[in-house]
Symmetry: C2
Subunit: 112 residues, 2 copies
């Protein structure tokens, strides 16, 4: 566990958090296309890891967490790359509305 | 990394996600009290790990991620415990509005 923890603790590391509202009925297709899209984001410079989570209470809602080495790795490196156009093409048509994306610093984690 | 991954992949594991809107100006006090409160949640049966994240774009917004072995470890085990009353007492007065909490299953993660 210590290795990952060491990586996660990098002071400059950023977590991108996006709540994704998928059009009801398209959840399976979205998850399949996300599998393809994952290889796009995971190949981007400064990408660390990601998780796609599906809501128990509202099953068309997902949360995407992406860990980046720096904020700019996402906002500039990924978003201004040609690969981002492919990512959008694969995924954006599933969303209604389009997601708001925010970035977070880790201030506490456990177990200690 | 494999060890943590093995743990994370437990099919029944649940991620609690709460967006916390802290009253502006009280962020430092909240973070200090969260340090105390963390020992309450991390002692609860079925608790796996947690992260408190602070938003870059809106610095009074936080996201709390808590991994639980099962949904019920949170909704019954923790929420119906006497310790939850202490947790609320320490933290709830910082929030406006009170947070909505949802639970998520992991459907994808990377790197593969």
């Amino acid at each position: 566990m210590d290795k990952l923890r060491g990586l996660d603790n990098d002071a400059s590391m950023i977590t991108e958090v996006a709540t994704l509202e998928v059009k009801p009925g398209l959840e399976s297709a979205f998850e399949n296309d996300f599998d393809l899209a994952a290889s796009i984001i995971s190949g981007s410079e400064g990408y660390v890891s990601h998780e796609l989570l599906r809501c128990v209470e509202k099953t068309s809602r997902y949360v995407l967490l992406v860990r980046w080495e720096t904020l700019e790795a996402h906002t500039i490196g990924f978003r201004k790359s040609p690969e981002y156009e492919k990512w959008k093409e694969l995924l954006h048509h599933y969303y209604d509305p389009l997601p708001t994306v925010e970035h977070f610093d880790k201030v506490h984690e456990g177990p200690e």
